[in-house]
Amino acid sequence: MWLHVRLSEVCLFLQAMFILACCFSDMESGPIATSGSVQPNGDRFKIEGRAIVPGVKTQDWISSARVTVEGEEYIGFLRTDGSFVVNDVPSGSYVVEVISPGYKFEAVRVDITSKGKMRARLVNFIKTSEVIRQPYPLQLRSSGPHTYFMKRETWGWTDFLMNPMVMMMVLPLLIIVLLPKVVNTNDPEMRKEMEQSMNMLNPNPELPDVSEFMTKLFSGSKSSSSKAIGGSKCQNITCTSGLRNYCNWSCHGNYNAIFKKSFFIRLYNCFLSRVFFPLSNNPRVCTTLVLCQF
């Protein structure tokens, strides 16, 4: 399930891409500016350019690279300084690509008119008539080495601990262990507040409730804990309802234990909502899940 959480960050981005792609699906390919006809006895032209791999010496990569025009229709080789010329190309529109097993280059579409005028533009297979000019003679800059390999999923303690699932298991455990020791669940004010905050999270009364579950749990162990916090006193704790509104509070005297505890619960609620909100707006999901965890 935690995969969802992680991926939710990616999904916005991809979603945008996906919508973009859908927009283009009704493709229209109007006539292109340059003529695509090839005259059998017409002139032959040359496509010139230069390919650069930043930070790599040319001799390290040019011997395995070549320039292809429209697949393998015309082939050019790279000079020792990274420049290239593809000779003997008739007029038309071609996709020019520098192919290297080590480094990736963007393909460029080159249009050659029957008079030999050249133009370079971005390759767009969906909107074929779209023109985004590129410099000519071509300037092809590698965007880095190809990523052929996937990273192996390694196992580390930090990965394990930072895993939301594990955190979700550890935090309730802490709460279960620590809360009964500090919270005086017999305090009616406190109980009321807790219920309130829990109801915020869980509007559906039919479903089993975490707060109920908790209070039950706490009241079961009250006898042992009542002694420890019996002496604490706090008069005016007012808490506005709202998930992300933290309490407006005023407390006379010292920071007592009650406040600390209620704050803790709220923090936990917020944490839950944070974790699950990207996936679903329904808080039911998180409560039920937490129950499963218990």
Binding site: E9, Q15, F18, F77, M150
Partner: protein
Amino acid sequence: MKPPAKMSKPTSLFVIFFSLFVMSEAVFEDQVGKFDWRQQYVGKTLFAHFDSHSQSSKKLFLATDKNIFASFNSRTGELFWRHVDKAGPEGTIDILLLHGQDALMVVGGGRLLRSWDTNMGGLNWEAVLDTGSFQAACFVAMQDTVKHVAVLKKAAISLHYLTNGHQKWVENLPDSDTVQYQAVYSGGEEEVYVLGVVPNSHLTIIAYSLEDGEIIKQRSVEAPWLSSVESSCVVVGHGVLMCVDTATLALYALPIQSLDLEVSPGFQPVLVSSQPHPARSPISEFFLQLGPDHHVLLQLNADGYTIAPLRDFQPAFLVSFSTTGEKTVAAVMTPKNETVKKKKNVASCMWSYSSDVFPPQLYVHAFLKKDDSVGYRVLVQTQDHALTFIQQPGRVVWTREEALADVVTMEMVDLPLTGTQAELEGEFGKKADGLFPMVLKRLSSQVILLQAWLAHLWKLFYEARKPHGQVKNEVTIETLSRDEFNLQKMMVMVTASGKLFGIDSKSGSILWKHYLENVQPNAVFKLIVQRTTAHFPHPPQCTLLIKDKDTGLASLHVFNPIFGRKSHIAPPALPRPILQSLLLPVIDQDYAKVLLLVDDQYKVTAFPSTKNVLQQLQEMASSIFFYLIRSDQGNLSGFRLRKDLSTERIWEVVLPTEVQKIVAVNGKRPNEHVHSQGRVMGDRSVLYKYLNPNLLAVVTESTDAHPERAFVGVFLVDGVTGRIIHEAVQRKARGPVHFVHSENWVVYEYWNTKSRRNEFSVLELFEGTELYNSTVFSSLDRPHLPQVLQQTYIFPSPITTMEATLTEKGITSRHLLVGLPSGAILSLPKMFLDPRRPEVVTEHSREENLIPYAPEMPIRTEWFINYNQTVARVKGIYTAPSGLESTCLVVAYGLDIYQTRVYPSKQFDVLKDDYDYVLISSVLFALFFATMISKRLAQVKLLNRAWR
């Protein structure tokens, strides 16, 4: 971060499953070379040069018939770099000249002049030459430095600077319509000589000035005996043209001199000479070849008029010169499989090296050793395209099987079982003979297994004690046996040169090779596995059908695919041209499948044709159908076998050749399994697949090539009834069409002429929600036509070949393996090519895991199964199932051979190779100890409580 909840759900699903793909597909970096290997080849050598630039250089430069210029390490035979030019006549290498660090090449019949930096493997410059067919080229030197190169075309000569390729001058040759100019020569003077001949009339010599291309001298010599300059004339010594008269065998050194030599009847004498440096004159010694195996070493005397024979070499097949410093070496290859080395000053040494194939080319490299003696290296290319490098004492340093650069077809054959494995297998095959013997047998086989395991352990232990490096894990034919999951197989490869190879799929080592001597260069091959290794003690049997493309006459070569030995079974004589061959599922008493060959009179020959087979054929004749394609007539016809092994035509489909031509016809692979009969849809109903085993996919292309009117047609024809099941026409499209036909789908790729892009189209056939006859499929009884769904996608790259993965039982999802021109092999999930991909995502389509339709197909480098091990000019991809359902073996061949395994649905049936044994076992142990301790604690507690 909080995306709108409504949208996030479908997209996140999409993303998840996208990511699953990514995981299933990619190679992990630590897996490099674990299951895969690549072998690179260059093809048959046309020109070879040793790098004599520096003394200790180990470079070797080759130009081959595959339009490749390559640099090799002469010590190991490994490639330094290689430049693959366009295939076909536009990329042919006409000549390769080497000078210092620069290699000069004329490409494409005199189209381009290229200069390479041999050190870096990059281009220095490329110059476009004027049109005209290329004749010859040579370096031109001036005052001992080589600054120019002269290129002779049919009607012009041009001079280019070596530094930048710029043309210095170009001159038209006089009378080029009558005179055939064939040679160009420069001897270090200020002149360039062009030699032309009017056959059987006279010889023309023109001297051009180096400076401005002016004709300085022009001379015509009567030579009614001369027909070609190329082979019969050489320049020897100080500018003396030596020509040989075929008829009288007189050597014309311009003044004519006769020699008492005898030429073999019907043989055109050839002269061989050498010019070690373009700035100097050629050496005065030269070879005269008098017959196929007769050479004479001659010397032009200092006076320039008299010739003295130095030595007669008979028999001698090949001769070659090499020069280092002041010393020149002549190498002579004699037919006793020996290389005779002879220094110019007669000190000769002999090496022997054995080869059973006639070598057509010989390259010698002489170099000065440290002690000033001459060392030699020899490169021999034999007729079977094997390239052998020999060091001085006759030691073969390396051999490259360049025939593998042109693999035509291949098969993968299971390896035989070992004795113990066979024993175990036999236990399951036999009929039960009582409980007690079965138990005994079981026990005995377990004991055998235990023994084998112990022996293995002992071997491991024994080898571990040995010093490192001595342990060799060489694969030999004797040690070959099937592994646990049948992942290691024998690759039987057939090459265009007629050489067969048996290659171990695990290591890539060549285990056997067999050269078929008299295979025509235009032959087509079909490799058929008639009997697999499963029928012990019968040996496996493969049959190679070799057919001459022009005459159609065919012959069979029957062999054992594991050992490469020719079988003693005599193949039938095939006097008539063969039209079609088909392998029947019928087996004879020796478990060999029956091969039927149909000749041009529609008579059928069976192989093997024993009585048993003929009887079976008679019984089954009425249910044996086959089809014939006549693409020149646009004719597709179906036949049925009669009881007397004659045939009758039952249907015919004519596709008029004026409109379209049949490009390819493809049925389904016979060893393909389809696991599920249908697809479960979102509403839990089942859409049944139309699984017609007799379905043929016929692809046609329009004869009209105009971009507006061109089209590509796909016809789905039932091979038994001739019924056209479906017909799809892609307008404004042209080939080359690549397609895969499998299960209930056809995927094809074509070029969209309007939008100028490659497109993939998928056709899927479904019977509907109900099956007509679920038990058996019969082409004759299918009243309903299938529902056909089609969808088309943009593919952002051209492709060179396509194949689908294949697994044992067909449970694993399918992937398409697409060979790209870049040499990468893309593994594309078939899921992306699903005509049911919805444009609008619905609840049902999400339930079905359908990816929403997107017009452009993604190409991700993580999906390249061969990462950076590119396969140049991928010609074919062969897929074979392994013993594991999840694993498919893949061999991509073209110029290179690449073997790997793919897991289209991840490795679901075995533990992954990165399985964390340490973690699992440590957790187990921890839990175990925790329980022990807690048990003890609980006991103590109980005890304490009892005491209380």
